[in-house]
């Protein structure tokens, strides 16, 4: 949660975006993020992001579901209330399979979606800074963070050379906050407003 300065550039075509990402990395600028309207395959590798471990989390949730189902049903039938149902065995493993399978899937799916939301910091009411309204429509928006060492003008001319257009400088909240999308309510603006009032 911090207010930072960024230089923002728009790309129209992913074929231009890829070499530009490469150039940013070799030039050593701090690439904040690239916002795209759809998943561009290979962009994560081009940006040098590591693989996500969401699959592993899903596996662990699945295993938890399997164990929960099997141990709960066995406990009920053998320990808590051993009931004679038509002389059937108290540990009928084949009959336990359907529920075990369903709970495995349920735990894995629910757990993964919740982890996904947690990792991406997403939930109803969460708001983040949108650098350009068309980043969810048709533009690929490259955002470079300005540090003490970077010169804004230099970054701008660099982006122009790389094929970006509508290049601008923005001061924005880098994290998330609880807010409404119909209002301009970045936390640092709120502070300024209360200070003025």
């Amino acid at each position: 949660m911090a207010v930072k300065k960024f230089v923002v550039g728009l790309f129209d075509d992913e074929a231009v975006l890829f070499p530009a990402v490469k150039k940013v990395r070799t030039a050593g600028y701090k690439l904040h993020d690239v916002y795209t309207p759809f998943p561009v395959h290979g962009l994560d590798h081009a940006m040098g992001l590591r693989e996500t471990s969401l699959h592993t989390a899903g596996f662990i949730y699945g295993i938890t579901g399997t164990t929960t189902a099997l141990s709960f049903m066995s406990w009920v039938f053998n320990v808590d209330w051993p009931l004679n149902i038509g002389g059937k065995p108290h540990f009928p493993l084949p009959a336990f399979i359907p529920i075990t399978f369903e709970l495995t899937v349920l735990f894995a799916a629910v757990g993964m979606v919740m982890t996904f939301c947690w990792l991406c910091q997403m939930m109803p009411g969460v708001k983040k800074h949108i650098f350009h309204p068309r980043q969810t429509d048709d533009k690929f928006v490259m955002v470079i963070e300005l540090t003490e060492k970077t010169n804004a003008e230099e970054v701008k001319s660099f982006l122009t050379a790389a094929g970006a257009h509508d290049i601008n400088e923005q001061k924005a909240e880098a994290g998330w906050w609880f807010g409404r999308f119909d209002k301009d309510d970045e936390p640092y603006l709120r502070k300024i407003q209360t200070a003025n009032a």
Binding site: P39, L54, H55, A95, V113, M122, M123, P124, P133, T136
Partner: protein, 478 residues
């Protein structure tokens, strides 16, 4: 040249001259405008059906299950028939989004959103039948294994009816999560182009604050892939477990081992038919013919003719086994009371609709005709309804004791309940078509440059080229 390449021999999945922005415009703009007259008419018809259904259910709950025409011989009638029918319809959505994702079928992108919505609404309709069928619905929570003060006495984990509870509720939850996680980026698209404050607020909440960050997309892709991997066995397991409701009993005509694959094939069959019915109307009303093309319908018709034939084989296998198994009760059920007898007409409706009529789809011209597809989609769903009716009622109405033999026709609350679920289904679907992007916008964009018509035309230059020359040029590209 684009990063990926697809042969021009493959039919384009998006017709017309499109760029990314045009895709957004085409799919999102119906949400932003006022719905047409037809929408209001359809919506109010659905709403009144829903109202009638609610009244029928109220009537049944108030007076008891006796208002239904079920009797001691026929304990499962329209209610369970409708349950299995709706669950079956609910299978196409997850099949399209999950199995076709794993098979990397690009055409699913045009139809998956609406098909998944259909799945969720169909499962909502299905779930009501077993619950209302219980009679004392206020006791419905007894089917859940919760710690209670009666011992606690737990549910019977050996029972296929309990497996059903777990299967259907898991299926509903996972389908909903899959559908909604796919909707997040599209809600963000609507939010960021919204002109009115209310729309910006509501879609802002619905989009969970999605921004389109590359890292988020990477996780989103991983999530979709794993959810698809989980849903694939799930979708097969759900109708397998529904078929266990019958197959684990000892009723002639139910006690067969081919039920699971036979039910799953039937579910896919009816589900695709329902997808066709809905999408033919949707593409017409929302002018989405360029996204849901004749090619999409042809692909689904191919699935229909395949699964219809699988179902046909299952019917014939059942008949053969009834004779070959040398069990007199099973033989009588199939040959005297199913294919003949007072309810024999339903068997022949089923045979005609499910096995004979889909064979028209062996002809390319028929597969690509919108009118034929639409009519066939209705016929198939009628046929599949009768399949469940035949399985349930013709096995029950002639039991072991001739003195209790009976006949069955539904009473008005049973019919009303069924109509009510149609009302619920279409009310939900109309709301979905108005407020949700009916086509996965982001997914269409990701295939646009490989499968869009105007992009494919550009590829014709390369298509004519000599392979070696092409390889040489790529290797030495600047």
């Amino acid at each position: 040249m684009h990063l990926k390449y697809e042969s021009t021999l493959r039919e384009p999945l998006v017709d017309g001259v499109k760029d990314y922005h045009q895709v957004t415009e085409d799919i999102i703009s119906p949400i932003e405008g006022k719905p047409g007259k037809l929408w209001y008419v359809g919506f109010f018809i659905s709403l009144s059906l829903l109202g009638f259904g609610a009244f029928s259910v109220f009537w049944q709950i108030y007076f008891g299950v006796g208002v239904w025409n079920l009797n001691k011989t026929i304990g499962w009638g329209w209610d369970i028939t409708n349950f299995v029918w709706w669950v079956g319809i609910g299978h196409a959505g997850t099949l399209i989004s999950a199995i076709l994702l794993l098979f990397r079928q690009g055409w699913r992108t045009g139809v998956n959103r609406a098909a998944e919505a259909m799945t969720i609404f169909a499962v909502m309709c299905a779930g009501q039948f077993p619950i209302i069928h219980m009679g004392r619905v206020w006791m419905a929570f007894f089917i859940l294994p919760y710690p209670n003060t009666r011992g606690p006495v737990w549910v019977n984990f050996n029972s296929p009816l309990l497996w059903d509870v777990f299967a259907i509720s898991t299926y509903f939850t996972v389908s909903l999560l899959f559908w909604y996680s796919g909707l997040l980026p599209d809600f963000a698209t609507i939010r960021d182009r919204a002109k009115t404050k209310l729309r910006k607020l509501l879609y802002g909440v619905a989009s969970f604050g999605w921004t389109g960050s590359t890292k988020h997309w990477q996780r989103h892709e991983a999530l979709s892939l794993v959810l698809a991997g989980l849903s694939t066995p799930l979708v097969l397991s759900v109708h397998t477990i529904v078929s266990f409701d019958f197959a684990t009993s000892v009723i002639p005509g139910w006690h067969t081992t081919i039920f699971p694959p036979y039910f799953v094939a039937g579910a896919i069959f009816s589900g695709f038919a329902m997808v066709n019915t809905l999408l033919i109307i949707t593409r017409k009303i929302l002018h989405l013919e360029e996204y849901i093309t004749v090619g999409h319908m042809e692909a689904m018709n191919k699935v229909i003719v395949l699964t219809g034939s699988v179902v046909g084989c299952a019917y014939l296998t059942e008949l053969f086994m009834a004779w070959y198994g040398a069990n007199p009760y099973e033989f009588d059920t199939f040959f005297k009371y199913r294919a003949a007898g007072p309810l024999g007409w339903s068997y022949w409706i089923m045979m005609t609709c499910n096995v004979i009529s889909p064979q028209v789809f062996w002809f390319r011209k028929m597969r690509r005709s919108v009118a034929v597809t639409f009519i066939m989609s209705i016929i198939v769903n009628i046929g599949m309804w009768f399949e469940r009716f035949v399985i349930i009622c013709t096995s029950l109405y002639r039991d072991y004791l001739p003195s209790s033999w009976s006949y069955y026709r539904p009473s008005w609350p049973e019919v009303g309940f069924y109509m009510g679920t149609f009302g619920l289904f279409f009310t939900c679907y109309f709301l979905f078509a108005k407020y949700f992007p009916v086509i996965a916008v982001a997914e269409i964009k990701s295939i646009l440059k490989t499968s869009g018509e105007n992009y494919k035309e550009k590829m014709e230059v390369y298509e004519g080229q000599d392979t070696e020359k092409f390889a040489h040029e790529v290797a030495h590209a600047h």
